[in-house]
Amino acid sequence: MSAAAPAHDHGHGHHDDHAHAHPTGLKRWLFTTNHKDIGTLYLWFSLAMFFMGGTMALLIRAELFKPGLQFLNPEFFNSLTTVHGLVMVFGAIMPAWVGFANWLIPMQIGAADMAFPRMNNWSFYLVVPAAILLVASFFVPGGAAASGWTLYPPLIIQQGIAVDMTILAVHILGASSIMGSINIITTILNLRAPGMTLMKMPLFVWTWLITAYLLIAVMPVLAGAVTMLLTDRHFGTSFFNAAGGGDPTMFMHIFWFFGHPEVYIMILPAFGVVSAIIPAFARKPLFGYASMVYATASIAILSFIVWGHHMFTVGMPAAGNLFFMYATMLIAVPTGVKIFNWIATMWKGSMTFETPMLFSIGFLCLFTIGGFSGLVLAITPVDITLHNTYYVVAHFHYVLVSGALFSIFAGVYFWLPKWTGNMYNEKLGKLHFWLSVIGFNLAFFPQHFLGLAGMPRRIPDYALQFAEWNMWSSIGAFIFGFSQLLFLYNVIECIRSNRKSEQMPWEGADSLEWTHLPTPAPYHTFETAPVIK
């Protein structure tokens, strides 16, 4: 990639701001078709949902601080675990990645904007009513959906109107995701600057290209599953009702055919972000760029043939269990390649440890733990013992919190100077990292022990032998939860501060947004496409 000095002639920032006056205030944000504005909207939305889902998590952990029922009735507790999962997956992590995609993909490939700017606006404004439906479902008769985020029948068939609200929310979010994906794929394939061949694209663009295909493949599957739930509930069908000739197990197959690629939808962009940050702070090019691209594609393909590992206990034939066990274990190969490539990138690099790098290394260490516990769970006989225990809860939080969320933090700290023009407070950033990493491990590592000892998930009360580790887990969760207020403060303080960022705050960064654009990035960028050598 070209390492030319920032070419301000490509920016046209101030000139254009005067030439085409854009609306300000509420109108700017409502009608915007600018990829940066829409990226900002997505990021703030996901932060709000993150705090919403986080509050639910803290209510759950407050209840589990000691045995017995403290504050919550069991039905409400079940609603909290359900909506916490849905809000974090569909409201926090996924929109955060779409926010990153909006901000970064056009700038990283030298495009002026996304391919379909109006559809981009519509994609965002669809997620808002979906979020409102999810949160409002707490206040309708019967309370919010309480079946777990997987919405398994027959439990989900029996509940009140909140389930219909949840189904509608899932439909809307799916439509939004599909539109977003079409936009991202078209942008990447058609709007690259001259000379920006596919194999010159930054890894973040690659990972999002593959993620977008995954989304298009699996979102309609989820939509089909929840539509069948809806007709089972209201229109007399029996897709999942054994009494009417249906099969609840079929829902699980359909749901997890969506659900497993969904995990990769949340984690592949994280791989892209970390692949941008580690080389920048090791001051070395990414080791094995091509193998990273190949491994990402490989993981995406494998993600479609492993769904059965979520349901080893439902009574599949031994051949089915073995197939899914083997296929699942094989995913460790391309994932391991990535981990080794990141380590090789750091090897003998001139490393410094600013906040983005700290979160990236945190990601690397902790995501690997989540990967290993995934391998443990991939072994069918072990999974049959650990299924629905806290071991599973620990595993997927290591993958999704220290995997996806930590890399979102890393990315925010890395690109905040580019987005805002100001430098964040490094000391506060590091404090945020250390409190997060300590709180996170204290919250979730003991859950491995609880699971191995047999504590089931999704219960508001538990046997006395689980008391000690639950207490520590709750303390860790509160440290982790409240330290996120520091993140919020840090972001707002950065936006409002006068600490102007240097043009290149990270000397090792080499993608177009750093090398070809001023800091902060002007409202319109790359109206004339750069030529990449």
Binding site: L198, A297, I305, A319, F323, Y326
Partner: protein, 56 residues
């Protein structure tokens, strides 16, 4: 054939630098996608074969 070779290496997730550079010159995205789909189907069949062997 070259597309199949590239796809099979991609299943492992690694590729030699000179071969990768040759790939970028001689392969088209269509060939890679077609080879990828066929290789994925063969992979599933191979796994199925192993499972049949083990459970016999």
């Amino acid at each position: 054939m070259h597309a199949f070779k590239a796809v099979l290496w991609s299943f492992l997730g690694v590729r030699r630098k000179d071969e990768y550079e040759a790939d970028t010159r001689r392969l088209t995205p269509q060939a890679v996608i077609a080879a990828g789909l066929v290789a994925a189907a063969l992979f599933v069949l191979a796994l199925y074969g192993v499972v049949q062997l083990v459970t016999r």
